[in-house]
Amino acid sequence: MNSMGFFEYLASRWDDLLELSIEHAQVVLVSLLIATVIGVSLGVLTYRRPAAAQVVLAIASTILTIPSFALFGLLIPLLGLGYKPTVVALSAYALLSILRNTITGLRSVDPAITESAKGMGLSNLQQLVRIELPLAWPVIIAGIRVSALLILGIAAIAAYVNGPGLGGDIFSGLSRIGGANSLNLVLGGFLGIIVLALVFEALFAVLGRLTTSKGLN
């Protein structure tokens, strides 16, 4: 058997793994961005309308219960293979916790603060942009962070639709388990995702601190 040890494997495929990790991170970030835009917008539109909020939350929750294999499969006839169905599915999965935290965050703003803002003559839009969103931001960013971790894992499954990222290695390793380097392929993919998760955590911690007012913590 010409199978090498894991560290040997890492040393030999270092470049590939790095490239795949960057691909993986990129597709996750793009999906997060799309989910954030949609989630925050829907949250802003519905946080003062309990019935509407219920509906959008129910839809986002339902999406999350669809097994990822099934969702990717369902998207093939619509979007084909590759990058597109990956981003769509990941955005859909990322939606719930961003949407939910946006609604929770906006609703938890002290009514005395919004009343005084209104009393000073801030328009509804000004209240939202200058007061409510900045105050809800720490909660919203926590939602984005949870979504990021969730879809970092799910993104591996995107290999099923020929999506980018570390999933390819994991899948091909699993499909010929027992073969040369198959376990290394799987472990390499796992390691990449774990490292990415740690990097994302650190990134969000820094981003959260930089974008949250010092008056809030």
């Binding site: 002290d110 005395a112 603060i113 919004t114 009343e115 005084s116 803002a117 209104k118 009393g119 000073m120 003559g121 801030l122 328009s123 000004q126 007061i131 900045p134 105050l135 007012s213 010092k214 008056g215 809030l216």
Partner: protein
Amino acid sequence: MTDGMRERDNGHRETMIRLENLSKTFPGQHEPAVDDLTMEIYAGEIVVLVGPSGCGKTTTMKMINRIIEPTGGRIYIEGEDVTTADPDKLRRRIGYVIQQIGLFPHMTIADNIATVPRMLGWDKKRISDRIDELLETVHISKSYRDRYPKQLSGGQRQRIGVARAMAADPPIMLMDEPFGAVDPITRERLQDEFIRLQQDIQKTIVFVTHDIDEAIKMGDRIAILREQSKIAQYDTPERILTDPADEYVEDFIGSGASLKRLSLSRVQDIQTSDWPVAGLNDSHDGVRDKMQRSGKEYVLLLDDQRKPKRWVSMADIEHNGIPLSEAGWPAVAIVEGRSSLYDTLDTMITSYKGSAIVVDDAGRYQGVVDFDAVLQAIESMRPAQHRDGRAVPEGA
């Protein structure tokens, strides 16, 4: 009531806010929260809306800046019908302070204060100068500009709330139990500061409270409201205390109306007695001489700046050996001229001889008041309702 006001106001007052048949029925309720309220609020006055909880006083106030939209009636500000005007523009002309203050926690003190001026498009320099000016006005150090609300005490937050409401110098301020959330000692200090401030800024202020004592202290005019914001009496504190319109008002004032009345009169307005005074550097013989001529048992000694220092009796200065600056006992029961009779009486009760020394702002001697003087002042208040010939009770 109407007659009384017309007689006193004599047309000198300019109406700032006029509420006309104002009503509010909240959705899903049959009874209106405010029912057909008509009242005028005069420029430069603090008008206190006071009544039990649920009487509609807060709803009434919040209809003035249309935080709550009326379901009937009109609102006029400086003669202009603002019932359907752009509410955001209207609100920028009206300062607004609520009990919870509602400072923006994510903004610095300076940014909080700058909110309305920025919306009005003031330039940076003007806004910055105004922030400094306001911080000084509310006795907060300029070093607080870049701090956040959470770094402030309750009293400081309250002051910043007032400063923020005054930022663009609005002619009108609405204040909903503004001193309700601070401890009693801070509350009293904030009230005193605000009264002093109002003497300079002369805003038209609508002030809501459930506390009649606060109403008496703060109000130039008090509207005592019953259910659905119906006016039980709208009058000056003096008139409300001496001449309550009905049993409801009497009950609301509660016991001790005469004592409360004392908090409205200032000691500088009553006759101080003529008391012998001498300088600390006078000769013992001179002091003895003055005491004998005055017929009093004590002489008050003043220093070079005419600040009261010591009381001396004949026995204290029988021996020339003791210098005047050490003879007798120190003068401690001192009140400023603008102190209320209530506070003066309090000082007198705890003082040694039942009298208080009145001084001016700089601490210079003005006179002495004793129990007799206060009693006389009380006497002159009591028959007020008989004199004006309207509310004489049957068989009085």
